[in-house]
């Protein structure tokens, strides 16, 4: 596995909240401007830190949703039941507020166009976030890319409009969908949990030797990664990130 140089110390930075974008009833994107940001790779994450007046602090990690673009960092936060940080982000945070973060963190679950393709993305629920940073970085890279997106309902599907638009802007990108719980009238995508047949139909086969990134809830990632191995992909080509039910 390739290695990157160990970086210097990660300092806490004060970010400005520039825009809050509702993605679904339970998911919000927060566009931040981070003076001092040194850049990131698609797939990396940040640590967010909240501090109360008495000094009490809470931290959580969030994947970065945007490709590298100067001092701009966008995160997408799902509201977790009783989530200490996610409930603050959803219910209290406003444009003009400031918030502390540090990053970028992580160097294994990353992809950028220079790494070539084919690029295979498989995302479940809010596990789509780091994969979206990769898809958004495709641009005119001419890298063959496919994305399989799983959500419970159409309403739960984050980045819905942008996802439907992306393949028209990026001809080398194909996006397939499955809605596991309920489907709108006239739904043309899949209507079940991701399984072997679906992965066989929608993903690059092992002969094409894709770089594979799988992100979602633990059960989703365990199942998808196991099937991909059975389909002949070498384990070292399958990079995973799991979102447990906790987080906050």
């Amino acid at each position: 596995m390739e290695r990157t140089a160990v970086r210097g110390r990660l300092s806490w930075l004060l970010a400005d909240v520039v825009e809050l974008i509702p993605e679904t009833p339970r998911v919000k994107s927060i566009r931040l401007r981070v003076p001092g940001w040194t850049g990131h790779l698609p797939g990396q994450h940040v640590d967010l830190r909240l501090t109360a007046e008495d000094g009490y602090q809470a931290q959580r990690s969030y994947s970065i949703a945007n490709p590298p673009e100067g001092e701009n960092v966008t995160i997408t936060v799902e509201l977790v039941d009783n989530g200490e940080v996610s409930s603050y982000v959803h219910e209290e945070l406003r444009v003009g507020d400031r918030i502390e973060l540090r990053g970028p963190i992580g160097g294994y679950f990353v992809w950028e166009p220079a790494r070539g393709g084919p690029l295979q993305l498989v995302g479940g629920g809010s596990g789509l976030v780091p994969l979206m940073a990769m898809a958004r970085s495709l641009g005119g890279a001419a890298v063959p890319a496919r994305m399989l997106v799983s959500a419970r309902t159409q309403e739960d599907l984050i980045y819905r409009q942008e996802l439907s638009r992306l393949p028209t802007e990026i001809p080398d990108l194909r996006v397939d969908y499955t809605l596991t719980r309920s489907q709108p009238d006239g739904w043309k995508g899949y209507a079940r949990r991701v399984d072997r047949a679906m992965l066989g139909e929608t993903t690059f086969d092992s002969g094409q030797n894709p770089q594979i990134f799988v992100c979602g809830p633990t059960g989703f990632v365990e199942s998808v990664a196991t099937i991909l191995r059975e389909l002949g992909h070498p384990p070292e080509r399958i990079r995973t990130e799991r979102f447990g039910p906790t987080g906050g």
Binding site: R3, I238, T246
Partner: protein, 201 residues
């Protein structure tokens, strides 16, 4: 001057837990799964644990031999660098003191290596003195594959990425050699009480 997040009150840990939860951590009842790749399926009949000394001497146990070694049951708190802590987790395994008892070594460091290519580095002193185990049971049942089964390292006083899943062996070394996450910017030692999450912390 400390920054204050406007309107943030926070949900503090209950008093009893407060001194058991390192800074920046929160308590969860779940057992989240974090791994960089697919879960390897390892049958116990193929399982081996190997100690390799700095002189390249090898000591290997198969599953049955390993199970003959004295077991210890421990209840410990675990702390993941992704911020969750889990209190009073119950494990059963073989102490590294037992495994290292017959080994002649003057090495100061160890690199744990796992099925699937994962590695993590630790000072040997952090693996001895009743501080570390190779654990195969969790909460009274065989450790599940996604949590590192059949057996994982258990070093609860360091962040949990040091407790290598699917552990295959330990290489004892004179020099410290960064493991997998340590090479990606995570802290070389990883003490949760000093909040040593990333390089330079």
């Amino acid at each position: 001057m400390t920054f204050v997040s406007r309107g943030f009150k926070g949900r503090r840990q209950v008093e009893a837990a407060a001194d058991r939860v390192p800074p920046g951590q929160y308590v969860t009842d779940d057992f989240p799964v974090l791994s960089a790749g697919p879960t390897p399926l390892i049958l116990t009949e193929n399982w081996r644990f190997t100690l390799i000394t700095e002189a390249n001497e090898e000591l290997t146990w198969n599953w049955d031999e390993f199970q003959q070694l004295p077991h210890e049951q421990v209840t410990v708190d675990i702390h993941c660098v992704t911020k969750w802590s889990k209190l009073d987790t119950r494990w059963e395994g073989v102490s590294l003191d037992t495994l290292l008892a017959g080994v002649k070594t003057s090495a100061r460091f160890a690199l744990a290596y796992s099925h699937g290519g994962y590695t993590t580095n630790l000072p040997l002193a952090d693996l001895t003195g009743g501080k570390a185990w190779v654990a195969f049971n969790y909460e009274g049942a065989p450790l599940r594959p996604e949590h590192g089964g059949p057996a994982r390292l258990l070093v609860p006083h360091l962040y949990f990425w040091k407790s290598a899943k699917w552990v295959q062996g330990l290489r004892l070394m004179d020099q410290e050699s960064p493991g997998f996450w340590e090479s990606y910017g995570y802290h070389i030692y990883g003490d949760p009480w000093k909040e040593q999450r990333y390089a330079g912390d």
